[in-house]
């Protein structure tokens, strides 16, 4: 387990819109891991957060050339390390 405070890790829900980040930790569950990683979301890849919806709505990210929407509960379990702002 990586210590979340030490390495400046935050959940995807807390990442600011338009910020680039590297994925560090993914939600547990083999099937879910397969699903997300086959969409291109897996540890090590970088992504840009596009938007987030109120009332525990989904978070959208761009990851490679794929745009993905993740439910709020799932986005809370994806930990990322921010590394800069990308203007959109």
């Amino acid at each position: 387990m990586i210590n979340k405070d030490e390495k400046n890790l935050i959940p995807l829900t807390k990442l600011k819109r338009g910020t680039k980040a590297r994925v560090v930790e993914m939600p547990e569950g083999k099937q879910l891991y397969f699903k997300l990683s086959s969409l291109g979301l897996r540890p090590g890849v970088s992504l840009v957060k596009l938007s987030a919806f109120a009332l525990r709505g989904p978070v959208t990210v761009k990851c490679g050339s794929t745009t993905i929407a993740l439910g709020h509960g799932m986005a809370e379990k994806v930990y990322v390390e921010p590394f800069g702002v990308n203007k959109i």
Partner: protein, 575 residues
């Protein structure tokens, strides 16, 4: 017979290629999960007949939904039977990295693969260049550049699929596959930077909360307006003139020839009113049956599916789904479930089938139950508009508010009492595409044809049934029996029991039979709601049974009967 199996990620155009190879028209659109079951067709290549199979899209060979399971188990079973098969792996060229994961997995498992690089026409504007020759070398399988929508590359595919040969099985882990994909992508793909296009700006705006909601409201409003406008236009300028000016004179002659009062006249033409045929009330096989189906319902079916087809092909629907995700969780579903529900507004049957793209049985049960109770199909809506249109927009609104409230309340209660939780949304958002006109219209034609073929036998049967009952004059006995229920609880005339029971055969014809009963506005509202909510038509019933099994069907039926009585009774008291 040799087989060709089409496989690929969702929304890469497998079904368009299937249609190109076999000439069989299937419904396609621009979002993941349009194909939820496998389809067979045939093609001839070099004088040899081959079976072509279109499978639901899958991101990996480890299934995560019922639709993906269909693909994975089908692939395994077919190759165990040792028939000669070729796997045609279709990939979206604009999204190479993600698509190649499945490709490499297929190759590693030893399947004989041909790769089709689809959507090559879209590469230039995106500043992507792909070296297909190099890719062929690296993968060790044939790679064909194609654009299925225009037909480019299809001939080459027909010539080359036989070059695929089964390779050695090399077991690779998920992460090893990703490493291999990365290595290939860096060698074959080069990107050039370019400015944001208008399309990309719209794509961004429609997935942001505020602008997304405005766009969403605009789309919903425009959809309703367009469906109404096209539907009414078709009725006024096409179907009504055909019936009134061409068909009626022929029927009047036939009526005179058959002699009013005889049995044959009664069955074919029905009753005359002041010596004239009344399409709405005569209830004959040649009068009311074709009129209700073709002049009242068909125009709306055409306009609904035209507008829906357009929305499907642009790629807007997944964006609408994420907009509603937060709210849908309150009724135990996630945002994607709105797509089967929207399809249900056309016809409940494809709506319930489309719930296969949802992950759990719980979600499938909730969404299918909600579709069959509270989502009126286009045919029924067309009739409700006919019934209540003359009494004004307000009474129509009451019907839709009543249905929408029951939708929310039933969903909320089911979510509370059923075990389990609603899974989280994971959805790929496709790029916008301008719908290709040829595909738009062939899809419309396919759906309209299905509607006519499926609906007409039941319409004839239903009209014949009521016609014979009228002839034998057994109406009174039956309607007297149900009088207490109809009158006291629902406040409807006792004769309304027939149309409501008829609703089990077909909702539209049932609503048509309500017209001659001469009811008050209040009664019309209640009858429309009761008709919408009570037993879905027989086709929906059968598909529900097939998809979810008898236990779930009985549960849904119990909820349905209870909810109908509660809502019908409540409206009787309130209004």
């Amino acid at each position: 017979m040799d087989k060709i199996i089409l496989i690929g990620n969702p929304n890469v155009g497998k079904s368009v290629i299937f249609a190109r190879l076999t000439g069989i028209q299937v419904v396609t659109s621009n979002y993941a999960g349009t194909t939820v079951e496998y389809r067979k067709g045939y093609m001839v290549s070099g004088g040899e007949k081959l079976e072509v199979i279109d499978l639901p899209g899958t991101y990996s060979l480890e299934p995560t939904s019922k639709a993906e399971e269909v693909t994975c188990s089908f692939l395994k079973d077919t190759f165990q039977e040792e028939k000669k098969c070729f796997v045609v792996n279709i990939i979206d060229a604009t999204n190479l990295e993600r698509n190649l994961h499945l490709t490499l997995d297929l190759i590693s498992r030893g399947y004989p693969v041909v790769v089709v690089l689809n959507m090559c026409d879209d590469l230039v504007h995106r500043g992507i260049a792909i070296d297909a020759k190099k890719m062929e070398e690296l993968l060790g399988v044939p790679v064909i550049s194609a654009c299925a929508v225009t037909g480019l590359g299809i001939k080459l595919l027909k010539d080359r699929f036989k070059d695929a040969s089964a390779g050695q099985v090399v077991l690779r882990s998920h992460d090893e596959l990703w490493q291999a994909v990365g290595a290939i992508v860096t060698q074959v793909q080069s990107l050039t930077h370019r400015h944001h296009t208008l399309r990309e700006m719209l794509e961004d705006l429609s997935i942001r909360p505020f602008s997304g909601m405005l766009i969403g409201l605009g789309v919903v409003y425009a959809t309703f307006k367009a469906v109404r406008f096209i539907g009414e236009g078709l009725i006024t300028y096409l179907f009504d003139p055909i019936f009134n000016n061409l068909y009626t004179p022929v029927l009047q002659k036939l009526s005179g020839f058959l002699v009013p009062g005889t049995f044959v006249h009664h069955v074919l033409i029905g009753e005359l009113f002041e010596g004239r045929i009344d399409f709405k009330s005569s209830v004959g096989l040649l009068t009311t049956a074709p009129y209700v189906e073709f002049s009242m319902v068909l125009p709306y079916i055409i306009s609904f599916y035209l507008v829906l087809g357009f929305l499907e092909d642009t790629g807007y629907l997944p964006r609408f789904a994420i907009l509603l995700d937060g709210l849908m969780h309150k009724i135990g579903l996630h945002g994607f479930a709105i797509i089967p529900i929207l399809l249900g507004f056309g016809c409940n049957v494809p709506g319930i089938l489309a719930t296969r793209a949802l992950e759990s049985k719980r979600e499938r049960f909730i969404s299918s139950t909600l579709i069959s109770i509270a989502v009126p199909c286009a045919a029924l809506q067309a009739m409700v508009i006919k019934l209540l249109g003359p009494s004004g927009f307000k009474s129509l609104l009451v019907v839709f508010v009543a249905l929408f409230s029951s939708w929310v309340v039933i969903g909320y209660i089911l979510n509370k009492i059923l075990k389990g939780y609603s899974p989280e949304l994971v959805l790929e958002i496709p790029s916008y595409r301008w719908p290709p006109v040829n595909i738009l219209f062939s899809k419309l034609w396919f759906r309209v044809k299905e509607f006519i073929l499926d609906a007409f036998p039941f319409v004839i049967l239903g009209v014949l049934f009521v016609n014979l009952l009228q002839y034998m004059q057994v109406f009174r006995v039956v309607s007297d029996t149900f009088e207490p229920l109809m009158k006291t609880v629902l406040g409807l005339p006792k004769e309304a029991i027939f149309p409501i029971v008829m609703g089990f055969l077909r909702k539209d014809i049932a609503a048509g039979l309500l017209i001659p009963l001469d009811m008050t506005v209040k009664q019309l509202i209640i009858a429309s709601v009761v008709l919408s909510m009570s037993f879905p038509c027989i086709a929906t019933f059968i598909i529900f049974l097939k998809e979810l099994g008898v236990k779930y069907l009985l549960a849904a039926t119990a909820i349905m009967l209870f909810a109908t009585m509660v809502v019908g009774g409540a409206l009787n008291i309130i209004l």
